[in-house]
Amino acid sequence: MLITADMKMADLIHLDFQLLAVIQRIGIPLGFREKTIDEVCKENNVNTDFFLQISNSFHDKDFFPKERFFEFKAEWLVNFLRRTHQCILEHKIPEIELKIEGLVEDLKATTRNYELIKNFFTEYIRELKIHMELEDNKVFPYVVELDKSLEANKKTPKFEESFSDYNIQKYLEDHNDIEEKVFDLKNILIKYLPPPMDNCKYNSLLFEIFRLEKDLSDHAKLEDKVLIPKVKLMEREIKNL
């Protein structure tokens, strides 16, 4: 179903509760009463069209208006991606970590297996943090400064100072796949780990891992298919300044 500006915001969540994540990451608080999407967006200084395109593409994987996304301010996208990082690192990962720690009782007989899974995930968290910190501290500030420079029609002092020899190609070269290990963890838990005693606990861990994988893949899609091509276009423009 196509999401439109005149829909009530509360109905949107009933339609697809996964969109709660989009609403939060775009910077809109709950408490909608009977207000429409358009009204809520305006109240929170969010561009309604940007909200609609993002929610439609998260709601329906076939809906991905790549070209439309290019028209929006790079900063909006960057803020969205930043909030996603924050949500993943501060909430989703600790939740999974806790659930893995909760397995220790079940896997007591095989402490070794528990250690294996725990270490595997700890290593993964470290990689994920490095990946996201690089984006938060280098790539995103670069994109924002690039955007400001284009708007001002001249390179900002900060751009000259910090990013004069940086370009998105450098980031692309080591923009690695952060979903692969999650994929592996899933299969190890489903196929290879001796079955645990408490299936319910175990399933809820798996469930979180599946959700994390989906979240990461949606996130990477926005980075790879929207942010990077858009920055390439912006880089072409700044050369002409």
């Binding site: 076939d62 899974i117 692969e180 290990k181 592996d184 299969n187 190890i188 196929k191």
Partner: protein, 192 residues
């Protein structure tokens, strides 16, 4: 499980084929793509057994060479935007074909693929050679080191690794290490 990629620039054609494939009583995982970039991404991430691809895409040189690189592992069915003669091969379909023609052709093709993948999946067990490769990879050795130690080419190592990943559903070295320890292929003490 038969994994299929539908590669066609047209959304309508992709959806139509998806719908028809979903009517076939085999477990299939379908992913839809529309550009050469997406095709190469999907081949890596989905590990497909079959690709149904429009000739407007498969005729692009880079896509063509990508397909050739997959060898016989990947079954190709071509979609034509023009009509086909009545007795054309089952590996060719036209967007003008009716439901019965499409359903028959696709059913036969999917069945063939299913039979061959089932044989493969039943022999899910790693071969002795694959276990040797896995053991060394799990210990953190590079493809080149593995090749030297087993007196085989790096190319062969890579192809063993591909098969290991396909059979186990594990892509990363640390994942393989966990698997190897769980299955006593290496010991916990072997890794630092």
């Amino acid at each position: 499980m038969v994994r299929i990629i539908i590669a066609d620039p047209s959304y309508l054609v992709r959806k139509g084929l998806s719908t028809i494939l979903n009517e076939l009583k085999c477990v299939t995982q379908i992913s839809e793509v529309s550009t050469p970039d997406e095709i190469s991404d999907a081949i890596i991430s989905e590990m497909p057994n079959m690709m149904i691809i429009n000739t407007s895409l498969s005729s692009i040189p880079e896509v063509d060479s990508l397909i050739k690189k997959q060898g016989t592992e990947l079954n190709i069915i071509s979609i034509f935007n023009s009509p086909l003669p009545n007795n054309s091969s089952e590996k060719l379909i036209s967007i003008l074909d009716g439901k019965s023609v499409l359903l028959n052709k696709l059913r036969n093709q999917v069945k063939n693929v299913q039979q061959s993948t089932q044989q493969q999946e039943n022999s899910e067990e790693l071969s002795d050679r694959e276990k040797e490769v896995l053991q060394k990879v799990a210990l953190g050795k590079t493809n080149k080191e593995v090749a030297n130690e087993l007196f085989i080419s790096t190319h062969t190592v890579i192809s063993h690794r591909k098969n290991i990943t396909r059979k186990l559903g594990i892509k990363t070295v640390s994942g393989l290490t966990v698997y190897a320890i769980l299955n006593q292929i290496i010991g916990m003490d072997d890794i630092s």
